[in-house]
Amino acid sequence: MDSKNLTLFNRIKDSDIYFSFIKSPTAIVSTVILIIIFFCSFFVELVTPYNPFDPSSLSLMDAFTPPSWTEDGLAKFILGTDGQGRDMLATILYGSRISLIVGFSAVIFALVLGVSLGLTAGYFGGKYEMIIMRFTDVQLTVPSILMALLVDGIARGIISRELHDEMAIYVLIFAIGISEWPQFARVSRAATLVEKNKDYVSASTIIGVSNLIIMFKHILPNIMRPVLVIGTIGLALAIIAEATLSFLGVGVPPTTPSLGTLIRLGNDFLFSGEWWITFFPAIFLVILAFSINLLGDWMRDTLNPKLN
């Protein structure tokens, strides 16, 4: 086991990607920030003693406490509290967990759907390809937020109100995923078109390997680089889309707020001087999306040298 691990480590250490990574300060900084954010969000119970989702643990008299370093601040609420007496730091971390879960799930959903359609379209060609690609063209003309709003609106019509709050997160994932899949379909089709004329594909065809195995076992690993680049940038977009939808009030319910919901709730207090209620979730969202974007840019430069 030991030697195998060592070789894997050595393989990583010797790779172009690792070399490029340690030469890029932006990549290192953004990765460190993202690791911290991910850790704090997914192990938030270890980081903070507060549970903002449990209304009975809150005290209204704690509401509107400013950040701890200001004059009226309290040490137990580092970033202050919101209008319901929830600790801002805990609320933001719980909120970013929801944002990240929605973002990741939506991107994985879009990736699976987009890549399977794009890959098969590129591989089979003909009318099937035309139909799929015209479909992506049509959908790309519809702004993704509009698409997501449409899906949410339909879901609200179908799902009963009692279920809606529980289903809201799945609706959101579906809505964002469905609005992002054309990107993946186009990229994977383009890459498939290049790959399918290569000798290894012809060789597989000649020895009678089935289409399914050629596509998903042989071509798929070779088109993953551009797809991962799109996926990383797509993650940042999905998180922002989630925040936008929640800000517009069609996302997750206020009792289990995501970052976008928090910004919306804090927005009411912008004029009254309680800036921290909206400022901290907003700056957190900016840092999160910016770090993912920087990492995505670095991945694009490294994994896809042709783009340079």
């Binding site: 449990d54 209304p55 009975s56 643990s57 809150l58 005290s59 209204l60 008299m61 509401a63 509107f64 209008g83 319901q84 007496g85 109100r161 206020p254 009792t255 927005n267 009411d268 207090f269 912008l270 004029f271 009254s272 001087g273 309680e274």
Partner: protein, 519 residues
């Protein structure tokens, strides 16, 4: 040039100057929600009446000082305790030029008594109305009614001919979601007329040139532009896009006052906010216990004592509310300070009451709230959810826009809900008749008590004020001891406007633009 010509030229300049000055005096008015309907008899709701009041008029009306005075009727007399004569103004025309006569008054009062009217409770004692001649109306009551004038001040007069022509003879059935011509169009005798109506977006009122009264205002146009989001509404006011906001968010008053071009006025409002709990249903629609905990007085009292109203006052209302013990306020006949005292806030007592009632682990229930009707309505509900969570009552908050909230309440869908109640007649009878009488239209807690019903009959027919007040006091004591509702607080309203816009603030939150000016 001759001096005479010079004078003419000067006068001409002066005229142009003066007329361009008075040319467009527009007030852009905003609040969080819109009027629900323009039909003046379809919905008895604050903002709806606020809009109707600018277009329609009643026989008598409350002035700026809230006292009753003549409007369409110049004088009135009661020839016996059950027969009233109203003498109408003879120079009143509707905004389409028709003359208003007693036929219109008779038609309107009968219209407001139709089953689809939401104002029928106001005039339930009126047993007959007829036109004696063109300008005299006789009103008969089924028993002596000491508050008839107060009630009539909310019955708006429509044109019989216009209603006939536009299929508006009966009020719009708002509860059933009916759409009618009269719901989107209005034609009255008031100082303004509506020229554009886009519900929830924009309503334009123009000065009614045919109005009979002495014009004391200098406004040519009012635009009502509802803005639901509090911060957006304040931003619109501060940027000059809006001239007056009649429900300025409490958290932003300091910011608005600090702005050089703006002013804020506050006054205790004639409105009490409370929570209702359905006490009749066998099983809560949103519960988990299979029965209805609200049937037990201990449970209602536990919820009452679990609410820290001072915290809500301090944090949610920023001091601008007055904790309430009954659903009425100073100035209303029957109000006393002793009645208005709340049960003490006591979480331990509440827990014990809940355990004694057989719910030691609490229960689940849904709290329905409007989110664009009362001052910080949704925030109050959110605070209540947390406070009730502390005694184990797991409340699921469902906040929605007021039109849906009210409609679903009337449709008996609420177990536990928020409502606010104003008293336009300034008499306790109004509160009992709508909220406490068995089967009353807004009695959605299904409270029923024979003694209270009997006391309401006394309030309607007793002209001996001492006896009447005794009945009111008795009824208040019964409903208060029963905890029929869970009172929260009396609202304080704040109007914020540009400094050059003068709209006198009134405790019923109803602007009277006929007394307003823009400088």
């Amino acid at each position: 040039m001759k001096p005479k010509n010079l004078l003419k030229i000067l006068l001409a300049f002066l005229f142009v100057f003066a007329s361009s000055q008075s040319f467009a005096k527009t007030i852009k008015w905003s609040m969080q929600g819109d009027s629900l309907t323009l039909d003046p008899h379809a919905q008895n709701e604050g903002p709806t009446t606020q809009v109707s009041r600018q277009i329609y008029e009643a026989l008598v009306t409350r002035g700026l000082d809230m006292s009753i005075g003549p409007q369409l009727a110049t004088k009135w007399k009661a020839v016996d305790p059950n027969t009233w004569y109203f003498y109408l103004r003879e120079d009143v025309k509707f905004s389409n030029g028709q003359k208003m006569t007693s036929e219109d008054v008779v038609f309107s009062i009968l219209r407001a008594k139709q089953p689809t009217s939401d104002f029928k409770e106001y005039i339930s004692t009126i047993s007959g109305v007829k036109a004696i001649d063109d300008y005299t109306v006789q009103i008969k009551t089924s028993k002596p009614n000491p508050i008839l004038l107060n009630q009539l001040s909310n019955i708006f007069i429509m044109s019989k001919q216009w209603s006939n022509e536009n299929f508006a003879v009966v009020p719009q059935n708002w509860d059933a979601g009916q759409e009618t011509f009269s719901a989107t169009n209005a034609m009255g005798t008031g100082p303004f007329k509506i020229t554009l109506r886009e519900p929830n977006t924009k309503t334009v009122f123009k000065k009614n040139g045919k109005w009979w009264g002495d014009v004391e205002h200098n406004i040519t146009e009012i635009q009502l532009l509802p803005i639901k989001n509090a911060a957006t509404r304040v931003a619109a006011l501060l940027s000059g896009e809006i001239d007056i906001v009649t429900d300025a968010p409490v958290q932003d008053l300091a910011r608005i006052t600090a702005s050089a071009g703006h002013k804020v006025e506050s006054t205790p409002q004639m409105r009490t906010i409370f929570l209702g709990m359905d006490q009749a249903a066998d099983k809560l629609r949103s519960g988990n216990t299979g029965d209805n905990p609200f049937k037990k007085k201990e449970v209602r009292q536990a919820l009452y004592q679990a609410i820290d109203i001072e915290a809500i006052k301090k944090k949610v209302m920023r001091g601008l509310s007055e904790p309430a013990g009954i659903i009425t306020f100073p100035g209303v006949t029957g109000y006393t300070k002793a009645l208005d005292k709340r049960l003490p806030y006591d979480v331990d007592a509440a827990k014990k009451l809940l355990a004694d009632a057989g719910y030691p682990n609490g229960f689940d229930v849904e709290l329905r709230c409007p989110n664009d009707r009362y001052v910080n309505d949704e925030a109050i509900c959110t605070a209540v959810v947390g406070m009730l969570g502390k005694i184990g009552v797991n409340v699921n908050l469902f906040a929605q826009t007021k039109s849906k909230h009210f409609k679903e309440l009337k449709d008996d869908q609420g177990d536990f809900y928020m409502l606010g109640w104003g008293v336009p007649t300034l008499d306790s009878h109004y509160v009992f008749h709508y909220l406490y009488e068995s089967g009353a239209s807004w009695n959605k807690v299904n409270f029923s008590d024979a003694d209270v019903d009997a006391a309401i009959r006394v309030m309607e027919g007793e002209v001996d004020l001492d006896k009447r007040n005794a009945a009111i006091a008795k009824a208040w004591k019964i409903v208060r001891d029963n905890i029929a509702y869970l009172p929260l607080h009396h609202q304080v309203i704040s109007w914020a406007s540009k400094t050059n816009v003068n709209v006198p603030i009134r405790p019923n939150n109803e602007p009277l633009f006929r007394f307003s000016s823009v400088n």
